[in-house]
Each structure stands twice: as C-alpha cells, then as structure tokens.
C-alpha cells in the first residue's frame, strides 16, 4: 500500500493534477483540502498520514497553521508555492520548498525522500 498523502491547494486544477500524478506514482491520496479550515478539520488526532504537499498561501491566508499542525503531528511536508522562501516569511525557512510551476519528477523524488 502506498504512503498516505494530504494535498492542500486553493487552486483546484493544480490540486487535482498533483493528485493524478501522485496516484500514478503509487501514493495514496488521503485528502484534498482547499483552505486552512478544511485542512485543519481533516487533521484530527489519529488520522493516518505519511506526508503532505501544500501551497504556502490558501485564499490569501498563510498556510502556516496547517504546517505547524503537521509538524506537531510529526508528518513530513513539502511546500509548493509560486513565492520564493523569503517572500513566504520566516516560518517557511528551513522547510523543503518547491517552486511553481511544478517539476513533477522532482515532486515525486522529494516526497519519496521525506516519507521514507
């Protein structure tokens, strides 16, 4: 069984493409969320999750609470954003960041690295 991944992106087309690509690469998509609220609602205690791919900005709101929640749960994560690390803010420093547009081969490689 593949690793269970959470995808958080406010742009549905992008979220769906990440979903398609990751599914084909053998990952299992645990959930797709479009906002901080829906992502946090999913991240209840006890949810089985191996990794997360998330956009840094969700409907003009920072994805920071979701990142912090994931960290609290010990779930490794990848940030995917059109912004550069210094534009996102200090909270994104030291985290794995992939710039948009996405190089999918790199996304799969990075995700495989952090979940294993």
């Amino acid at each position: 069984m593949g690793h269970r991944i959470l995808i958080v992106d406010d742009e549905p087309l992008i979220a769906m493409e990440i979903e398609s690509t990751l599914s084909q690469a053998g990952f299992e998509i645990a959930h797709m969320a479009q906002s901080v609220e829906t992502a946090l609602a999913f991240l209840q205690d006890g949810v089985a999750l191996d990794g997360a791919v998330l956009d840094a900005n969700l409907h003009d709101a920072s994805a920071r609470p979701v990142v912090e929640r994931l960290q609290e749960m010990g779930v490794p994560l990848l940030i995917v954003s059109g912004y550069s690390a210094d534009q996102i803010g200090p909270w994104a420093e030291g985290r794995k960041l992939l710039r948009k547009p996405i190089v999918y081969a790199e996304l799969i490689k990075s995700l495989t690295q952090i979940v294993s």
Binding site: P12, G82, I102
Partner: protein
C-alpha cells in the same frame, strides 16, 4: 595871623606877601591838583577791581600810592600857605619821593611785559583771525555733519538692503517644501533649521533644541544610524563644490518613520581645512519609498500570480494530454486556455476584487455561434463572486458549452440551454446555486470514460467553491447543478458587508 606864627617858621603865604590873588592861585591850584590826584587813584582802584585779570596789579597799586602821595604833597602845600608845617611837608615829600623812585625803578623792567599786552588793534586783528578760524571750524563742522548724514543714509540703505536680503532668505527657507539645516559636525547638533523641519518631524523647536547632540542617536533608525558615522567622515572631506547624499529614517513626534534624502555642502571649515559645519536639504521621500516598496511587493505578487497561472496551465495541459491524441490535445488545450484567459480578463478588470456572474457566463460562451446564443436563456440576479469562484465556475461553464456543442443541446438546431443562478437558504445558511439545464438535444447517455472535461465539471468546480455538484444525464437533457456555501462564492468585500 597870630596863630599862623606859632613857631619859628613863617607861613608860605607870607613869602607871597599875602597877595590875595597869588595866595589864591597857589591855594586853588594845590586844591584842584590834590583833588585830581585823589580822584585818579580811585579811578585806578575801580579799574583794577573791575579788571580782575589785570596782569600788573602791583604797579597799579604803586601808581595809586604814588599819585595819592603826590595829592597829599599838594594838600600839605595848600596848608603851608597859611601854616608853616614845612617839616611835615618835607616828610610827605620824602615819602612821595621814595614811592615815586620805586615806581620809576619798577616801571622799566615792566616795559616788555606791558608791550606784550596786546593793543586793541592787535586784539582786533587776533579777533578777526579768530572769527575767521571759527568760521572755518564751523564750515568744517558743517562738512562733517553732512558727511555723517551721508554715512547714516548709507548705513540706513545698507541696513535696509540687509533686512531685505534677510527677509528674502527667510521667505525662501520658510516656503521651501524641504527641510533645510546648518549642522555643526563637531558638536553634532543643528545650529539652524527651517520651518519645514518642525512641520515634517512634528517636534516643537524647543524639543529639537533640548535633544541637542542626542537628536540623531535618539530619533534616527538604528540601521541608518550605524551608517551615519561613515557619512560624517564624508561630510568632513567635502570639497568647495562637492555635495554628499544620505538616505535615512527619522522618527516623527507621532512615532512614524519618515524617509529622508539629505543633500549637503560644506559651509565652514577649521584652520586645517576640515569641514566644521554643513548646509543641508533633506527631502521627505517617504511616499517614494512606500511606492517603491509597493511596486516591489506588486512585482513579487505579479510573479507569484504568473507562476500560479503557469501552474494552472501546466495542470490543464497535463490533464488534457491524458486520454487524447496529439491533434485533439492541441485543439482542446487551446480552447481551454482561451476560456482561462477570458476568466483572467474579468478577474483583472475587477482588480482581483470580484467578477459579476453574468459577465462570467457571457465570456465563457462567447465561442458559441449566433444560432446557439439565440437558444440560450440566462436567469440570475446580479451577484459578484470571488476570483477563485469566477475561474472555477468559468471553466465548468466552458466545458459544459464545449460538451453541449459536441454532443448536447447545441449540437442540433432546436436544443436549448437554460442557465440559472440564485441564492437559497438551506439549513440556516445561505447557499449559492447555479444550474445548467439542456433540453431538446439528441438523446443523452452518460459518457463511458472520464475525461478532463468531466473532471472539471464535476470535481474542479466543486473544489473551487467548496461545494457539491449534481450531474444528471436525464433522457430529456443534461442537468448540472453546483451548490456552494454563499460565503465561499462571494467576493471578500461583499462577505465583509454581510458579516
């Protein structure tokens, strides 16, 4: 007569044989001479007393004594006409002689002195000379007075010119829309500031004065103050025509940072030629800095949005490429990008604030022909939705219309499409509902495979607005309904207005 012969001498009258006329002549002459001799000393006395500054007073007194004694000899002579007091007469004459001799002896040495006393004509001459001199002095005085008046007039003129130039300078420095100052480098304080410094920074003149050399350490931004020391070194090395610039922030009295650009020139120097004072103009560039910052942020945001849009295009391309041959891929992708671009136009037009629902519908159906458009019915109240909702719903409508054109109501001559949107109350929360209803098209059946079009119609639109899609392939026509919480669909301003 007996009385006159009381001693051995005879009266002088006897010698004159008592001839009345002769005795009378002698007596009267002696009397008159004596009276005259007595009068003269009185006159001299009065003269000497009145002329207090008389130099030869002693001689005058000797004259008084000698003339008086002469008078006295005549009195005695008169008496001797009848009384033979020749001894007395002798003594008087002796005394007179002594005084006369002394006077005569004394008078010679005094001749040079007496000659030295100017005569009235000399005095007149001197007087005239003096008058001339006085007149000359008066003319000189008048000239001096004129010169003084001229000087005063010039001083007045200069003072007025100075006042005018001071007024000129003050007006200019008052009206200058920039901060002007004279800065004492050694004592690190402003020696002079113009009105604009007060106006821009908001501190009262006495507050700035009280800050003294603590002004820059206290109110300059720490990041800028660390560069300030280097700037002071630059100031000290300024040449006669050099200017030096410095960009820095000062905290206003209200606590806000004001960005300033200072341009400075040397004003005074010490003996070594090192600059001690500079004159500077500081321009408030806060607005420019804010605009630069805004432009910087906007550029970053534009870049972010461009990257995001490229990623959307990337997703559309990748998904379109699945399950399609190269020819249809190219056409489908082009159509989808055109639809995306149309939504993008509306989003930009609405300045990323919101897009009117009716505009989304018409923009996405613009590729239809007149025949199809005449069979299209739009039914909805004015509502403005968020950019994300506009893009999601727009793409769904694009896919629905493409699908209708290929297989649905717009593929024949009589089919109709009814698009309706409304707001409904459901379980105490407002829901936005939009529907696409086809009628009178060819017989409908559910497609066997799930292509990108269907993914967009079913999942993407729902995902974009956090809603639910109901897709039915009813025999009389396809029906697509999207229901979403109203607050997820609305633009932010409208949302804020409602809450």
């Amino acid at each position: 007569m007996e009385g006159m012969l009381h001693n051995s001498y005879v009266a002088h009258g006897y010698c004159l044989m008592w001839k009345p006329w002769l005795v009378g002549l002698h007596g009267l002459s002696d009397l008159l001479t004596a009276l005259a001799y007595f009068a003269i000393p009185v006159a001299i006395f009065i003269f000497v007393k009145r002329r207090g500054d008389l130099q030869m007073k002693n001689l005058a007194w000797m004259f008084v004594a000698f003339i008086t004694l002469c008078g006295l000899t005549h009195v005695v002579g008169l008496i001797t006409l009848w009384a033979p007091i020749y001894e007395t007469e002798g003594w008087v004459k002796g005394a007179t002689a002594i005084v006369s001799v002394i006077t005569a002896v004394a008078i010679f040495p005094l001749i040079p002195k007496a000659l030295a006393i100017p005569s009235p004509s000399q005095m007149q001459l001197v007087n005239d000379q003096l008058t001339d001199e006085i007149a000359a002095h008066k003319r000189t005085l008048a000239d001096l007075e004129a010169a003084r008046a001229e000087l005063e007039r010039r001083v007045e003129e200069r003072t007025q010119a100075l006042n005018e130039s001071q007024t000129f300078l003050k007006r200019i420095t008052d009206i200058a829309p920039t901060m002007l100052y004279v800065y004492d480098i050694d004592h690190q304080r402003n020696e002079w500031i113009n009105r604009n410094v007060i106006a821009t920074l908001g501190y009262a003149p006495e507050e700035i004065h009280a800050m003294g050399d603590r002004m820059f350490p206290d109110i300059m931004h720490p990041d800028d103050f660390s560069r300030f020391k280097g700037h002071i070194d630059d100031q000290k090395k300024l040449g006669p025509d050099d200017t030096v610039e410095f960009e820095y922030r000062l905290r206003s009295s209200e606590g806000e940072w004001i960005w300033l650009l200072s341009q400075e020139m040397a004003y005074t120097r010490n003996g070594d030629g090192e600059v001690t004072h500079i004159i500077g103009a500081a321009h408030d560039i806060t607005l420019r800095k804010e605009q630069e910052e805004r432009i910087h942020l906007l550029m970053a945001e534009v870049n972010h949005r461009a990257r995001n849009l490229l990623t959307v295009v990337q997703s559309v391309a990748r998904q379109t490429s699945r399950l399609s041959d190269p020819a249809t891929f190219a056409e489908d992708l082009s159509n989808r990008l055109a639809g995306l671009a149309a939504s993008q136009d509306l989003i930009i037009e609405g300045e990323w604030q919101g897009v009117r629902m009716r505009d989304i519908v018409t923009s996405q159906l613009g590729h239809l022909g007149d025949s199809q458009l005449s069979r299209l019915v739009l039914d909805g109240k004015p509502i403005t939705v968020s950019p994300a909702a506009a893009q999601g719903i727009g793409m769904a409508l694009h896919e629905l219309s493409t699908n209708a054109l290929k297989y649905g109501a717009f593929s024949n001559e009589i089919g109709t499409v009814h698009i309706a949107w409304t707001v409904k109350m459901s379980q105490e929360s407002a829901m936005f509902v939009i529907s696409w209803q086809e009628r009178d098209g060819p017989a409908v059946s559910a497609p066997e495979r799930t292509g990108f079009g269907r993914t967009v119609i079913e999942r993407m639109a729902a995902h974009a607005v956090g809603g639910v899609v109901d897709l039915r392939y009813d025999p009389d026509g396809l029906k697509w309904t999207l229901s979403a919480p109203l607050d997820r669909v609305l633009n932010k301003t409208e949302q804020a207005g409602r809450s």
